[in-house]
């Protein structure tokens, strides 16, 4: 048998409203009251503010936070996790090795330079000969499709004092201001990455700044030929502020070999003025056998003392970030168009390349293969130059090329000359 009590108001013993109904509005409690729900579950399709604006609402499987015109903010000190939180927290660009504009492999490497995956620079100082590639060997189930592979092709089992191998990324100083380096509020930094090698033992990761200060941390590759995730936290540095400019602020470095000049001291596990011998103490020699390989991917450097999940960026976003430092015309098209222009005289072509994103500064131009200008007839183009762009963050580059026997005043375009493998690379790396 059901029972019904019909009232408009329920009050406590003091006469204060517990529940009140007026028209279609039901009010629970009164001003100053705390309403507690036993079991802590309230079922509703909407939670509204006193002005009837939605705070949270649900329609089907869509949950909406806030309403048009609202600002949704986190309280100071609060943090958010999950997709979209703290976007662009990774200081490293192309940490998943997914962009390789210069090519996916390089061989016979003995020196320094940018070889395959964008933004990653190799510094080989008399320590073997190497091949490098963008590899598809990746840790299972982590969402990575590519890694950076080092493969020793000529060994150096006995390093001289000054020999070394460093794999590094150079970071623009103006991107690092929020780290508050050089102040009492300097942020700690956490470096996380996946690594794999047949060569087990101690390896060194190092941060080196523009003020000649550095800090190192050792990590161990424990199991041969097995992907392992490593996390290293570096204390904030209260000395040596980063300049607010487009020059190098920080070198993020992975040692792969280090002669005694870089390994005979005491490892610099706290920030200190650079002493070469303290940089890579304990580092194994990855160059000691042609059987040696080293893979790395998922490199993330972020503020704070813990590592968050690797920040996956959309491919186009990652590519644009890389193109601030390197823009390569794509290969594979025998007559690929590079730019339009004209002939100011009978032996010169001038054209404009509009860049896909602002480049850090005036780029170098590296070319290989065959190029031509196409107008009323095709003419071989060579000896490329650019005109001075003394400013930073440039959006276009004026390209010049030598040609011969052209008609002054004619328009023309610059393109590959039946050469699908021709390279045309603008580089403004650090």
């Amino acid at each position: 048998m059901s029972s019904v009590i019909k009232v408009n108001t329920v009050q406590d013993a003091d006469g204060n409203n517990i529940i009140n109904e007026s028209g279609d509005v039901i009010t629970v409690g009164a001003a100053g009251d705390t309403v507690t729900v036993a079991g802590n579950v309230v079922k509703s399709n909407a939670l509204q503010a006193s002005d009837a604006g939605n705070i949270v609402s649900q329609s089907g499987t869509t949950i909406t936070v806030g309403a048009s015109g609202d600002t949704v903010a986190l309280a100071s000190g609060a943090s958010q996790t999950g997709f979209g939180s703290n976007a662009f927290r990774n200081i490293i660009i192309n940490g998943d090795m997914s962009i390789a504009q210069r090519g996916t492999s390089a061989t016979s490497l003995t020196g320094s330079g940018y070889n395959t995956c964008d933004r990653w620079r190799s510094q080989i100082s008399s320590a073997g000969t190497w091949s490098q590639s963008q590899s598809t060997d990746v840790p299972t189930g982590q969402g990575f499709a590519t890694s950076y592979k080092w493969d020793c092709t000529t060994a150096d089992a006995s390093l001289a004092a000054g020999d070394s191998i460093i794999f590094q990324q150079r970071v623009e100083a103006q991107f690092l201001q929020y780290l508050k380096k050089g102040t009492s509020n300097a942020e700690s930094l956490t470096l996380s990455f996946w690594v794999k090698s047949n060569k087990t033992g101690t390896y060194i990761a190092n941060l080196y700044d523009e003020n000649n200060r550095n800090i190192s941390k050792a990590y161990t590759i424990s199991a041969a030929n097995t992907w392992e995730k490593k996390t290293l936290t570096f204390a904030g540095d209260t000395s040596g502020a980063f300049g607010n400019d487009n020059a190098i602020g920080l070198y993020v470095q992975f040692f792969l070999a280090a002669g005694s000049n870089m390994s005979s001291g005491t490892l610099a596990t706290s920030w200190e003025s650079y002493t070469a011998a303290n940089q890579a103490v304990g580092q194994v020699n990855l160059a000691d056998s042609t059987s040696n390989e080293w893979y790395i991917t998922g490199v993330q450097l972020e503020a704070g003392t813990s590592a968050s999940d690797f920040e996956i960026l959309p491919h186009d976003v990652n590519l644009r970030r890389c193109q601030r430092y390197c823009f390569s015309e794509p290969a594979g098209d025998a007559y690929h168009l590079i730019c339009n222009g004209f002939y100011p005289n009978t032996s010169l072509f001038i054209g404009i390349i509009y860049l896909p994103t602002t480049m850090r500064g005036e780029p170098s131009i590296t070319t290989s293969g065959s190029f031509q200008t196409a107008s009323t007839s095709d003419k071989t183009a060579s000896n490329f130059t650019s005109t001075d762009n003394a400013v930073s963050n440039i959006n276009a580059v004026q390209i010049r090329a030598d040609v011969s026997s052209v008609t002054a005043g004619d328009g023309a375009n610059l393109r590959n000359a039946n050469d699908a493998t021709a390279k045309f690379i603008l580089s403004s790396e650090l």
Binding site: S108, G111, A247, T366, T367, A390
Partner: protein, 62 residues
Amino acid sequence: MILEIVTKVYDQIITDKHIGYRVTNSQNDEVTFVPKNVNNSDYQKIQEWDAIDGNNIVEPGE
């Protein structure tokens, strides 16, 4: 960029204006034009290379 053969480059219109360097890689057919710009890291590398005894930047045609 391997620095072996480094040649001065002059403007194609103002022919006495030094605008950069051309670096020829003998191990492949890559040629790099490096602008005379202190913010360009290749330019910085050439300056360091040129400061070492025995390294020479050549004039065009030399």
